[in-house]
């Protein structure tokens, strides 16, 4: 086996055998699975019934409040002050006071509660009152509410992309957004987590003084690249385990509980939907919309070129890491301990954080000039380009991005190797940027 292979093997095995790695690898999928499972589980739990006492001085609304699964309404006969005082004793979650108004139709009400009232309660009250007030106003202006209902229209904007061959495909902006953002974010996390590991590895070699022993056997460049590649393999191992284990956990959870959930949960969700829809009075429209959008999503899933997305994800994932890994290695070599790394970290962290900060603008306008330039610049392209790709990018953009990332990688590695080679043998010296520049220019 050649020497760089030996280095990669050591870097990989020592990390993979560490207890912290094993623990993280196990905990990761459990946490991620929990993100999927816990909300479902919690939704399944019966919510506590919230009873609202209503003092309706107008007499218009009391009958309109429908008691549902989570909220029920009871008419209160006591005067307001007394009702407020007896709120806890009577087991009320809140007291709704609708005062008589000088206007024909009241437009305000007051909700008294001991804590911050939750959003469902507020929503139900507001919806009910709005519907009632609207229909009252309509009748007052002589419009039959059923006419309005027949007029009310929901616009379905179907987005269709025409590709170069003239074929049409349905797209889903939301899906592209989600896909782009998730892959961009994964790259960002990967670069930070494992780039920092490369840096710590270099610092460890320097502070434990083993560096000079090793570079009397191999070239500093071999050691640096071996470390970067070894750590990359550790990261890929961990990510692969995480993704596979998460999928297994989630799907086995679904398999075990699916009957229970689909039976119980869906019917319950339906019921909730129905009550809200009934209150909104346009149930049929919505049901149609739901069906329509499911079809659209299904069609647009097919429209995304998953081969391209997966391929570019792998490329930008690895390319971005290698570029940053080299820079992290250079920083590690220039300092005596982790506390000294701050000043040199800024030029590395700024483009990374910037690309995440820019991601929402890029998502809004994936073909704009900012998106274009930041997806070419190698320090931001791994994240930004990955966000753009699910929306579909021109071949030239992709080509430039790939080309500049490769050039950027060679440039960064060349630069890092120069700093590294001098830095690893330098002890007890306060290094600044001028010093680094000097190292780069050494023959």
């Amino acid at each position: 086996m050649n020497k760089i292979g030996l280095i990669i093997k050591r870097e990989y095995l020592t990390r993979v055998k560490k207890r912290s790695f094993i623990i993280m690898t196990i905990i990761g999928p459990v946490l991620m699975a929990a993100i999927f499972i816990v909300p479902v589980y919690i939704a399944q739990l019966e919510g506590e019934m919230k009873i609202i006492g209503v003092i309706d001085e107008t007499g218009l609304f009391m009958d309109k409040f429908n008691s549902g699964d989570q909220v029920s309404f009871i008419k209160v006969e006591e005067p307001l002050e007394q009702a407020k005082a007896n709120m806890d004793k009577n087991g009320f979650y809140a007291i709704l006071h609708i005062p008589r108004s000088e206007l024909n139709v009241p437009e305000s009400a007051i909700l008294y509660s001991s804590g911050q009232p939750n959003i469902i309660v507020k929503g139900v009250i507001e919806n009910t009152m709005r519907n009632e007030v609207e229909s009252l106003k309509l009748s007052a202006s002589g419009v039959d509410p059923s006419v309005l209902k027949s007029i009310r229209t929901k616009i379905n904007l179907l987005t269709i992309k025409i590709n170069e061959g003239g074929d049409e495909e349905k797209t889903s902006t939301e899906l592209s957004m989600a896909l782009g953002f998730i892959s961009g974010f994964l790259i960002y996390i990967f670069i930070f987590m494992y780039g920092a590991q490369v840096m710590r590895g270099v610092i460890e070699e320097k502070t434990s003084r083993i560096i000079e022993v090793i570079i009397s056997s191999v070239k500093p460049f071999q050691l640096m690249m071996g470390k970067i590649v070894g750590v990359a393999l550790v990261g890929l191992t961990q990510f692969t385990v995480w993704i596979i284990a998460t999928l297994i956990l989630v799907s086995s959870f679904m398999a075990v509980f699916s009957d229970e959930i689909s039976g119980h949960e869906i019917s319950k969700m339906k019921m909730q939907n129905e009550t809200i829809l009934q209150q909104n009075g346009n149930m049929e429209d919505n049901a149609e919309n739901v069906n329509q959008s499911i079809v659209t999503i299904y069609e647009s899933i097919q429209s995304i070129n998953f081969g391209l997305v997966a391929g570019s994800f792998l490329f930008f994932f690895i390319g971005g890491y290698l570029l940053y890994g080299a820079l992290f290695a250079a920083i590690g070599s220039a300092v005596d301990g982790e506390t000294d790394t701050q000043q040199f970290m800024i030029p590395i962290t700024v483009p990374l954080i910037l690309s995440i900060a820019l991601s929402q603008f890029v998502i809004q306008n994936p073909d704009g000039p900012a998106a274009f330039w930041f997806s070419i610049f190698p320090l931001t392209s791994p994240v930004i380009m990955m966000i753009r790709i699910p929306f579909g990018v021109p071949f030239l953009d992709l080509f430039l991005s790939v080309l500049f990332l490769i050039l950027g990688f060679f440039g960064a590695t060349w630069l890092a190797a120069k700093i590294y080679r001098t830095g690893i043998l330098m002890y007890g010296k306060k290094v600044n940027y001028r010093e680094l520049w000097k190292w780069i220019r050494y023959k």
Binding site: M1, I7, R209, I210, E212, V213, I215, S216, Y442
Partner: protein, 310 residues
């Protein structure tokens, strides 16, 4: 005497200081070669050049009379002054890794390590983590790893620092044994006593320049000052009177039953003339020529060099 390493007109410049200025010397094959000099003189830079960690700006490095190449590092073993091990790694695993980086096969590395571990009686450490070992124990492992691949040229930078006297002797024995088996050893240290004890040749570097090199014996002869120490009893008269201006008395002393005198004799006289002068007046028990110690030579050469520069 064939040279194993030939250093010719080496220059090395760092940003604003010259680390090596036209340094040349020859390391003879199968010798123990002392590379001496004060801190910051350029020794470590020179050693790094030999190990190809850095390259010279100009000059030639010849290994077996041909230019040094990358493959030669497998024929060199280097124990740096700044040395350490991966703390979290197991001793055996780590020794295997370092041995294989030097080009040994897995099988050879394992076999040789077992032999050395048995020899140093440390086989029980194989599965321990390095951080569990004392500094002296770690030094032993570093020594083993340095010599394991049986290189022709060994470079030890301050090898004895951190060892107790028993282990220093163990190490000295091993170094002499390696020399006797045919290896050449470059030995960099500030410990002049061990230079006198071990080294056949030296080169002294000060302020980026070589100021002295050659056989240890020749150098000590060259620096000798015709000083003799006489041990005697029953002195009749006064020594200064006896010497009568031909020789100078440097110091006298008394130890147990004997008296001592250090005497420098003038150039035209030999030790026999001195004995002749002294014999009628005392009972001589011994007379020894006092050679300058390497320590004295080191200090006087460096001082001289400093005066020349200022």
């Amino acid at each position: 005497m064939k040279p194993i390493f030939d250093i010719r007109n080496i220059n090395k410049q760092f940003a604003n200081h010259k680390a090596l200025d036209d340094v040349s010397f020859v390391v003879p094959e199968n010798s123990i070669f002392g590379l001496l000099g004060p801190n910051g003189a350029g020794k470590t830079t020179l050693i790094r050049l030999i190990n190809q960690i850095t390259a010279p700006d100009s000059g030639e490095l010849l290994f077996h009379s041909r230019p040094l190449n990358r493959k030669d590092i497998e024929n060199i073993g280097y124990l740096p002054e700044e040395r350490g091990l991966y703390k979290k790694m197991k001793v055996g695993e780590q020794a295997m890794y370092l041995a294989r980086l030097k080009g040994l096969s897995k099988h050879d590395a394992q076999q040789k390590l077992r032999t050395w571990f048995d020899k140093f009686d440390i086989s029980a450490w194989w599965d321990k983590k390095v951080e569990e070992l004392s500094k002296g124990m770690q030094q032993k492992i570093q020594f083993i790893v340095t010599v394991l691949h049986e290189p022709e040229l060994l470079i030890f930078d301050e090898p004895f620092s951190g060892f107790d006297p028993i282990n220093v002797n163990l190490l000295k024995d091993e170094i002499l044994k390696l020399r006797n088996q045919g290896a050449t050893i470059i030995f960099s240290t500030h410990n002049m006593a061990s230079v006198e004890e071990l080294c056949d040749h030296i080169a002294l570097i000060d302020n980026s320049r070589k100021i002295l090199d050659g056989k240890v014996k020749d150098i000590r002869d060259k620096y000798k000052d015709n000083v003799y120490e006489v041990a005697f009893r029953n002195l009749k008269g006064d020594i200064e009177g006896i010497l009568n201006g031909d020789c100078s008395l440097l110091k006298t002393g008394k130890k147990e039953d004997y008296q001592f005198a250090s005497i420098r004799i003038k150039n035209h006289l030999g030790p026999n003339e001195l004995i002749g002068k002294l014999l009628p007046h005392m009972e001589i028990h011994s007379i020894n020529e006092i050679l300058p110690t390497m320590n004295d030579i080191f200090i006087s050469s460096v001082e001289e060099n400093k005066n020349r520069l200022t």
